[in-house]
């Protein structure tokens, strides 16, 4: 991919992000923040790429692995925590029935 087309990707991605969450009830601010935060752990793909491309370079393998660990900590923890919060909201209706 040329740099210019990557810039287009960046621009369109940003616009998409701006459009996606126009109206959010305050109730969902915390879960949304935490969910979006988990998605920002997508940098785990960069860490994976680094490890695969390391070709036996030990320091690079280690850096990649640590980076992958940090990213997955973000991703797994983020999604679990968000689910825990949202579980509390969705439990209410079932309690009433």
């Amino acid at each position: 991919m040329s740099f210019i087309s990557l810039l287009w990707v960046l621009l369109l991605g940003s616009l998409l992000g701006l459009e996606l969450i126009g109206k959010v009830p305050p109730t969902l601010h915390t879960p949304l923040m935490s969910g979006a935060n988990a998605i920002s752990g997508i940098t785990m793909l960069a860490a994976l790429t680094l490890i695969v491309k390391a070709e036996g370079n030990a320091p690079l393998l280690i850096i990649g692995s640590v980076s992958l660990g940090f990213a997955l900590f973000n991703v797994i923890g983020g999604f679990f925590v968000t689910d825990r919060m949202l579980a509390m909201f969705s439990r209410k209706p079932s309690n009433k029935k």
Partner: protein, 479 residues
């Protein structure tokens, strides 16, 4: 195009679509939980796509597999354990910590690529040959480092491990931060000029900048800062996407970055503060000492739990105003017991949620949801404000600045213009508080001086427990 390239293209496209749907769904109560799972699925799909691509093209060496597995297991395990164990009340700190680690990950990727340029594989992986790569590496390191140290400081401050040092409230901090910023700029250009060793200077000064910017910010503004740092971690991921040439990373990072900015803006609006004043204004308490805020109280009425119970028993409509103090005292379940008793007596109970009550947007909703408070009883500020004049009793629990009438009446107050809950319109207001200390803004609360306000001093949980006892003695809620 070869088959692996096509497969990866399709999977990436699908992943972006699902992530977008996930973020969209997270903004509606009904779909939020499924949306979160959808986003998690999209993330795992993207990993499968990437790995299958490399398996189909260059192959993945055994060593690489070993390090992938080690990193994955350790990271996932710690993440899962923390997510399961952490109490709901420490959610803001937890999100800050996760966020910081995301930033750290982007930082490390850029650092790895910069120090050990990868020899070209099937693709054009000629790092440090093009200006673009150097720029994206520098940006990734810069933003990643700020996100990491900023988030860690935010977490430490919320946990109470760090207080706001005095010097950070003086003008000195601007000077210090400008020095850090200029130094990172110098390192940035030095790096782009091909001087690889200045990468460490960039790491150090941008880390210091993250600390220097976050440290002076007061507790009341922390939600805004966490949200902003969340946006940064998206930008860091997008920058890392440029480093490893991944469109998926750029799109996802940009989406999170933009969504985080919107959320930050929403929060600033709720506090009637601009982002600039949050970031560079220091904590509100520092300003208030210079202005009208630090006046003395002249007309404080304190009352016993018993009186409070008697008034509650006679009420028809009660509004509860929760704040951060409720979370600190872990009194949400006790509060729920009190309101249950009142409801059994036919008293209408509603919870008034200020948009920035607590240390995070939606903090109170999460807290009350944990105590099984029905969702319909939580009313937002704009909805509940017209109801106060027709309300008999308002119970303020650990909230302070969000019920300060100064924001409406006193144009010299630092709070002036911030939307507040008009609790003083109600017939009687009880403020349950440990002492006369000011709220996070450090400003005197005129509400406490009003004739229809009574203070009930004590820890929220203890007062509420006593209240349950008193209500029991009065026969409230026992049919």
């Amino acid at each position: 195009m070869s088959l692996p390239v096509i497969i990866k293209f399709v999977i990436d496209l699908l992943a972006v679509l699902l992530l977008a749907l996930g973020i969209k769904g997270l903004s509606k109560v009904k779909s939020a939980r499924d949306a979160n799972r959808l986003a998690a699925f999209a993330m795992s799909l993207s990993v499968v796509g990437l790995l299958s691509y490399y398996l189909g093209t260059s192959g993945i060496a055994i060593q690489s597999w070993i390090w992938i597995i080690i990193g994955s297991i350790i990271g996932s395990l710690f993440g899962a354990i923390l997510a399961k164990k952490v109490p709901m009340t420490s959610m803001p700190e937890t999100v800050a910590l996760f966020n910081g680690c995301g930033g750290m990950s982007s930082l490390l990727v850029a650092l790895g690529v910069a120090i050990f340029p990868i020899s070209g594989g099937q693709e054009n992986f000629d790092f440090f040959k093009s200006l673009i790569n150097e720029v994206s590496i520098s940006v990734s390191i810069f933003v990643g480092a700020i996100t990491f140290t900023g988030s860690i400081v935010a977490m430490a401050k919320l946990q109470g491990w760090l207080s706001t040092p005095g010097w950070t409230q003086s003008k000195v901090r601007h000077f210090v931060n400008i020095v850090f910023a200029v130094a990172s700029l110098i390192a940035f250009f030095d790096l782009i000029n091909g001087n690889t060793s200045s990468i460490w200077l960039l790491v150090i000064v941008s880390s210091l900048l993250g600390i220097g910017v976050t440290l002076p910010i007061g507790g009341a503004d922390m939600p805004v800062v966490i949200s902003l740092l969340n946006s940064y971690s998206g930008i860091a991921a997008a920058a890392a996407g440029f480093v490893v040439d991944s469109q998926l990373l750029i799109v996802a990072g940009a989406m999170v970055g933009a969504a985080g900015l919107i959320l930050t803006q929403v929060m600033c609006k709720g506090m009637n503060r601009s982002l600039v004043s949050v970031l560079f204004g220091g904590s509100l308490s520092a300003q208030s000492t210079a202005s009208s805020g630090s006046g003395e109280y002249t007309n404080i009425t304190s009352c016993s739990v018993e009186e409070c119970a008697l008034t509650l028993e006679a009420a028809n409509k009660v509004i509860i105003v929760p704040g951060y103090g409720l979370a600190v005292a872990q009194a949400q379940h006790t509060l729920r017991e009190v309101t249950k008793k009142l409801e059994q007596n036919g008293i209408e109970v509603v919870y008034a949620i200020h948009p920035v009550a607590g240390r995070m947007p939606g903090h109170m909703n999460v807290l009350l949801a944990e105590a099984d408070v029905p969702y319909e009883q939580l009313k937002e500020m704009d909805v509940v404000n017209p109801d106060f004049p027709a309300t008999d009793v308002v119970l303020v629990l650990g909230a302070n600045d969000v019920v300060n009438p100064q924001a409406k009446n006193d144009s010299s107050s630092p709070l002036y213009g911030m939307p507040v809950l008009d609790v003083q319109e109600a017939r009687t207001v009880f403020v349950i508080k440990r002492g006369m200390s000011a709220g996070y803004s450090g400003i005197k609360n005129d509400l406490f001086d009003l004739p229809n306000t009574s203070m009930v001093f004590g820890d929220a949980k203890k007062v509420l427990n006593d209240l349950i006892g008193e209500l029991k003695d009065l026969g409230v809620g026992e049919k």
